[in-house]
Every structure is written in structure tokens, then in C-alpha cells.
Amino acid sequence: MKLTQIFAVVVILAATGTAIAQPSAEAAPPDQTVVRDAAIRQAAYLARVDEVLNWRASGATVQTDDPGNLGLAAIASKLALGEDLENCSLSVIEVMKDPGTGPFWMFPNVGVAFLGRDLLSAAAQAAIRETWRTTRQLRGDTENHWVMYYASLYLMSELYPNEPGESWYNGLSSEENLAEARAFLIDWIDLTTTVGQGEFNATHYIGEYAIPMLYLKAWAEDPEMQQRGEMMLDWLFAELANNTLNGVLRGPNSRTDEGSVIERWNALSSYFSWLLFGNTPPTRGYGGWGIYFATVAQHYQLPEVIYRLATDRGDDFVQHDRARVRRRWRYSEELSPPVYKTQYLRDDYAVGSTTGGQLDPIQAHVWDVTWDEPDPRGKHNTMFSLHPLSSGRVMQMYFTAYPEPWIKGVTNEGKPSYDSPDKVVGSSPYEQVFQSLDTVIALYDIPAGTRFPHINGFFSKDLVNLTEDDSGWIFAQGGRTYLAYRPLAGYHWIPYLHYNGGWAKEKLPLGGQLLTSPHLKNGTIVQAASVDEFASFADFKQAMRALPLEFSLEPTPTVTMTTLRGKHLLITYGEAPVVDDEPLDYSQWKLFEGPHLNAEIGGRKMTITHGQLQRVLDFNTLTISDSVTAGK
């Protein structure tokens, strides 16, 4: 086993010598054998880092004839590798002549500034510094914007201390900027570790948090801020590890997009799984922003307990977590209502959900069943339903905007499906979801007059044996998972058409179909099971047909059923779920509760457990405690 791993490392190292190649993206899926030797694990991690840096430094997919005109990502990669330094300096001077504005420009700029501290020419460093005097930087309006903005400002203020307000774009001195950035970062960490993340389980935006935290870990002068950076990385990656199915992050997601929500692997989160856990292929281009993590990746060593959480699964497990909705400026009784998440993970599939309602206004994904695929690339390995809400007023809840231009506006600003009736991304105030292990009941009560008065159920091209049964159940198989989908109202099928990217103008027929049900009072029941649990697909179908199930849609949708796992459920829209005759009280849920992650609301402390391994992240004392419990 050990030899296999060493061989794999050698192969990867050898491959990195080839310009432009993305060996891991093009190769077969990685061996998912658990690597127990820490040295081999770390060597493999650093080999993957080198693969990324070499690919980007060598020009990525775009070659330039002008070595003095490299982009920031290539410059950062070359600086990390310590190569081509003269051209890096020339390129920096060129790039800084036309600086950008906002956090997505700030953090690459900071990366180059710090990586180049001892490598770039004085003129190049001065050019970087000058942009922080001349160019007004927008802070943005979203949590990830602010984390990037303030981590960047924090580090640059430390890099250039004791400088007056005139030398900064915002008129504040280095010390004032440092103090404000520090205050925000500590407040954000405090919020996250007491009531949860606002942008939880984001498929792409995980990078916008992880990269700033790694920068702090690597470059902050204040040891306490370094420690906060490292602990937040552990916090983020522990949750990623716990929620992934062989490296693939599934729902629910505070923010995602069309590509990731159907092809669950196709997300920046998979790049992080590949880089950190080595258990799934990286996305092409290493996730774009992921490059910047790689440039500093040697400053972070993944704790074994988190690695094992991602790669060394034993029993099925349930995790209950809390998070929060991004802040609502108006039209809401609460600024940031709580989100209650349920995760159930098994070898062959995983089921995850929130309780529904209005989450992120554009990009939320509320629930799904996702099955494992040996090679997840190109596979639409998921099933779910949603109400495709499109609402200017909902936008106004979260943004300081007028309602009218927003719907059209967001479709032109990276979210092309927002106003499409057949979209597959989004949350709705008219959806309520309950999950018990691998059973999901989603109920809908859509007011008359609502734009898009129907629900969509996603049926993947990769399902086999799709059967519309006389019983009312729709049966199918995905991977090694049997699936039963019960629409509670009449429906018809339409082809699934896909916006291929945030700026796409046309939809592509990628296969698959949508179950569209044009009824205001509506519902979906999904039950999953492993193929190992039944002698045949027919047996699974028969077991489902035999389950006690009653439902009605008027006056409000309600379902009474016994699940495949023997749970008796009474689920009514607008009322607390009743499980085995006991009403469920979500308010009692902890921040994290499960066999692997545990944290109390308000606790500022997470306990990460895998087998005998345990790590405690205590933000009250800014300490990390590792322990190994004998005998577990």
C-alpha cells in the first residue's frame, strides 16, 4: 500500500515537468486508498501543489509571446516557484498600470505582493504599493467580499506600517486600516463560530474564504491572527470533509450554480478535495482561484483527523448543523434567520437538506440525494426538486436595490438562469423540507400569482431503469443507489436545458429531463436505498409500494408515511414535523452535532472526531488541541 502511494507521488512529480499538462485532471480518478503515513500524505499534497503551480506558471491554457505581460495568477505561481523573476517584475509593473477594484482584485494583488517581497524588483513592489494609494477599492456587498477585502487590507497594512492616510486609497493610516480590518475579521470569525456561516457549504465560494484565511496563516505578523487563520482553515475543511462523498460536495449549499448542482463534482470545492484529500480529480484549470491557494499551500498542513474524515468512512452517519441566512436588509422580521441542515452519508450515496424557505436569494440549493460515481466527471449524479422562484422583492430583501432591474440584471451578471422557469438552482419561501435519514419530503404552497407557479424535479441523464409506476412512484437507479420519487400532483416532462457557465447566453441539451408540476399546492417525496439492501430492483420497488403513505394537498399539503427505515412521519406545510409522534424542535439544534463534528451555539469551539483522533478548535483561547483516545 505504501509503495503504491509513493509510486503515485513519483508519477505526479514526473508529470509536473510537462508544460501545460493538467495530469490529475486528465488522468483516471485517484486511488481512494487511505494514506496513513503522514509523510507520504504530505509529500502527495505538495506534489499536487507543484502540479498546479507548474501548470499555471508554464502559461496554463494560454501562451503569451510577451513574457513581460503575465497575469497575476501566472506571476504568483512563478514567484511561488522562484522562477522567471525578471519577467515577473516587468509584468507586475504592466499589470499595476491598470489596477482593478474590489476584493477579487485585492487578494491576487496581495498574493503577488507577499510572494514577491524578496523576489520582485523595487520598482515592481513600488508599483503594487502605488495602486493601494490611488485606486479606490470597493468592499462589495457579500460576506465573501468582505472577508477577502479585509484580509487583504489587514495584510497590506502590516506590510506597509506607519504610513499616513494620504498613502492609502481610503485616507486611513496603516494603523487605522489594520485596526478596522482586524476588528472585522475577528467579528466574522466570532459570528461563524457561534451561529454559523452565512455562505455555508458553498461549492465555489469556499475558495473565497479559504484563500484569505491561508494568507493570514502564512503572512500575518500577529501570531494570534496567524492562529485564527489556521483554525478557520481547519473549521472550513472539517466541514468540507464531513459533507463530501468521496470528495464531491453535495447539497445543501448556500450558494452554487447550474454546473455544480447537476454535475456535483464540477466545483471549486472538488479542487480543494483533490488538493487536500486526494480523493477526487481536480476541476480543469484547478478551479481558477484555486491557483492562489496553491501558491501558499505549503503553509498549511491538513490535520490527519480531517483527512480521515474525508477519506476513511466507516458507518453511515447523520449530522445536524446550523448556519444562517445572509443578512436581510428589509421585508423580514429577522436580520439573519437560522438555517437547519441535515446530512446523512452512506458509502453509496448521501442525502442533505435544509428546512427550506428563503435562503440565499439567487444561488441556494436546498436539498438533494447524490449518489457516488467512481469517476464523477461529467456525471449528473443527483436528484432533487425545487420551486423556481424569481422575485425582485426577494432580491430587495438582501440587496440595496430597486426591484425592477434586478431580475434582468442578475441574468446578465453571472446567474443566467435566475429568471428561467426551468431553472434548477434557487430557494423559495414557498418550499418546506423535512429529511429523515434517506427520506426527503419537500412540500410547496405557492401563492396564486407567483411568477413560475410550478415545481421542477431534476431527473439525470445518468439514471437508469427509470420507471413511472402505477403506484404513483417513479423508480430509478443512479450508480449503486435505488431511488424512489413520488410527485404529489400531476406533472409532465420537459428536456433539461443547461446554461453552461455563469455568462452563458444559450442553453445546451446535456441530457436529462425535468419533471414539471404546474400545481400551487404540491410536494415531492424521495426515498433512497443502497443496491446492497435488496436482492433486486424489483424488490426495492415492491418495498416502496408497500410503505404506508397518505397525503393531501388541500387546504395545505400534508404527508403521513412510514419510511423505508421505519420512521413514522407526519409532515404538514407550515407546521413542525412530527417523527414517531414527537414534534421536532429545530431551535434546540446545536451548531454542529454528529459523530464527527460537534459545536455548541455560541461556543466558539469545534470538536473534530474520527475514530481515536480528536482535534478541538477553541477560539475562546485560540488553541488547537489534538488527542488520541485509546481503545475506540
Binding site: 470597493l138 467580499h145 486611513l172 440595496t400 430597486y402
Partner: protein
């Protein structure tokens, strides 16, 4: 204080006597269409001042997110802008700027300076109101009397006749203070956000307000009681309202859906003045300059002007602009 009052008295009296009153005319405009965080700023945006030859002169920073601009009436080199980052202040006519708020204030909607207490600056926020009493050197929240939820504040409009007297346009209505925001009370409950509040330049007791979906409102008792204006429909969002300082009978409303509505009888009757403007009628803001020229900023189009109060329109020279704010200021020595 006496100087300021004298200045405004002079302004009020001279505006009717002089053919070409000495005013400056400013706008906050965004020219960079579809800018989102992370994309490139490709054009000049922010505060523009109209020059004597009718062109627009950019002043200060290039910022796509400005919502309003305000000046210290004693010294126009003291400039305040509200923007995505919060409140910016320049003490030297826009050469250097300082962000005045901490991280817990964001996405400012509007800024106003009390003409009778010019050190007092009011910042409207999506979660309330902050006030400075020292020219924005420090800012504190002053929200006593505002509801815990529903205090989204689109603007604070200040009564030019009395220091510390102001109205806040909020999510759930119009709130009133007469003690410099030490306390607020609601004087009009509305079903939706108040988008604009204006005091007449002719009659300081006369105020107008427009809302997102609750129509237009008028007050003739210094803003203490309000009545709905019958001639302005509430079916479409009303973005702003303006008086014409050259003619007390002329009013204009900018609306998404209704376009430009004008009244030339003090608000008794209203006319659709969209002929010549591009369809659909998505007017972001209307403004009237010191000479009585009416402007309409049309979404995704540009700025238009009319010299016959909306009967005919011509495109302005600031091509592709979207105006967030119009300001008329008495010219200052500095």
C-alpha cells in the same frame, strides 16, 4: 449659524429675481453599465459638475457606486459622498478622500448636510441612520424611535428652515426628528419603502414624497401630516420627485414603468411626459436644473433633457449615464 440662514434667505429671494441665478449643478452618475464586484471599471463614474459650456466635469474619485453627494454650505471643498463602502469625505474639493465609517456600516443610500448646522452629517443606511456632529470625523447610529426591523433608510431629507429638523424615508414610512436625530417618530406609515422626500424651494412648508408601491404623498404643514396625491398612480415604483426652482407650479416624478410624470399646477393634475423618450419607460431619476431644464435619466439608455418641461426631449452629452442624484447648490466662494 446666522451666516447660513442669511445665505439661504438670499438664495430664496434671488432665485426668483435673477434671470440666471448663480448655482452649481451636480449629478452622481454611473456610466459603467452592468458593473459588478470583480469586473473592470471601464469608464469614469461618480460626481460630475456641469460647466458653463454645458459639459460635465468629473470630480473626485472614479466610483461606480455613488448614491448621493452633499456639500458643506460654508465651503464646497468639503464634499461628502455616500457609496457602497459607506461615507466618503473630502476636505479639499475632491483631491483626497477619507472613508468615515467603520466596517459595521455599509452600502450607504444617501448623505445629507444640515444647512443650519453644517457640521452635522446624516448617513442613510440599509439598517438605519448614522449621524456625525463633527463633519464626519466620527459617526454614531441615531435610531431611537425607528423600528428594530423596517428601518431600511433610503434617505434623510433635512428641513432648511430649522437645524436638526429632518425626515427619514424608511421601509415602513416617513420618520421625523426635530432634535438632530436624537429621537424619531413616524409621521406617515406606508406599505412600502419611501424612495424620496423633497422640500419645496418656494414654500418650506410644502413637502413631497414618493414610494416604491404606495404612491406619492404631499404635506403642507412642514411634513407633520401627509395626504396621498391622487393623480400619481401607485402601480409602479416611483423613484424620485423634484420641484422646479424657477416655477412653483412645476413638479416632476421619475418612475420605473410610468416614466416621467409632470404637474404644472402644483400637483393638482399630472401628465405623462414620455413622448420622445425611449421605451420602455424606465426612468431612474428626474431632476430640474437651476434654469428650469428638466432631466430624465433612463435606465440602460442615457440622460435626456427637456427645455419645455417634458414635451420634447434631447439626449444629453453624458452618453450612457445613469444618474442617481441631482444637486443644485448656491455657488460658493470656495
Amino acid at each position: 449659524m446666522k451666516t447660513i440662514l442669511t445665505l439661504f434667505t438670499l438664495v430664496a429671494s434671488t432665485m426668483f429675481l435673477t434671470a440666471a441665478p448663480e448655482y452649481d449643478f451636480y449629478i452622481c452618475a454611473k456610466v459603467n453599465r452592468d458593473y459588478v464586484i470583480g469586473s473592470k471599471v471601464e469608464t469614469v463614474n461618480g460626481v460630475f459638475k456641469r460647466t458653463d459650456d454645458g459639459s460635465w466635469e468629473h470630480q473626485g474619485y472614479n466610483d461606480t457606486t455613488l448614491t448621493a453627494v452633499a456639500f458643506d454650505p460654508r465651503d464646497h471643498n468639503v464634499v461628502y459622498t455616500s457609496a457602497n463602502n459607506g461615507l466618503w469625505r473630502s476636505l479639499d474639493g475632491g483631491q483626497h478622500w477619507r472613508i468615515c465609517n467603520d466596517w459595521d456600516m455599509t452600502e450607504a443610500r444617501h448623505v445629507a448636510v444640515d444647512p443650519n448646522a453644517p457640521d452635522h452629517v446624516y448617513l442613510s443606511l440599509p439598517d438605519g441612520i448614522a449621524v456625525s456632529t463633527d463633519r464626519a470625523q466620527t459617526l454614531v447610529r441615531r435610531e431611537n424611535g425607528l423600528p428594530e426591523r423596517g428601518k431600511y433608510t433610503q434617505l434623510v431629507a433635512i428641513d432648511r428652515t430649522q437645524a436638526g429638523r429632518a425626515f427619514a424615508g424608511c421601509e415602513v414610512g416617513i420618520f421625523f426628528t426635530e432634535n438632530g436625530a436624537e429621537s424619531w417618530r413616524r409621521v406617515l406609515e406606508t406599505a412600502d419603502i419611501t424612495n424620496d422626500i423633497k422640500q419645496s424651494p418656494h414654500d418650506p412648508d410644502h413637502w413631497l414624497a414618493v414610494t416604491q408601491s404606495a404612491g406619492a404623498w404631499s404635506s403642507h404643514d412642514r411634513g407633520l401630516t401627509w395626504s396621498q396625491i391622487d393623480g400619481v398612480p401607485s402601480a409602479h415604483s416611483l423613484h424620485n420627485v423634484t420641484f422646479d426652482m424657477t416655477n412653483p407650479q412645476r413638479l416632476a416624478v421619475g418612475s420605473w414603468g410610468l416614466g416621467v410624470l409632470t404637474s404644472e399646477d402644483g400637483g393638482k393634475t399630472w401628465q405623462d411626459r414620455n413622448a420622445g423618450l425611449p421605451e420602455p419607460h424606465r426612468v431612474w431619476r428626474v431632476g430640474v436644473d437651476p434654469s428650469g431644464r428638466l432631466y430624465a435619466s433612463v435606465h440602460k439608455q442615457t440622460l435626456f433633457y427637456s427645455d419645455d418641461f417634458g414635451r420634447t426631449w434631447q439626449p444629453d452629452t453624458l452618453v450612457g449615464s445613469l444618474v442617481n442624484y441631482f444637486v443644485i447648490l448656491p455657488k460658493a466662494d470656495r
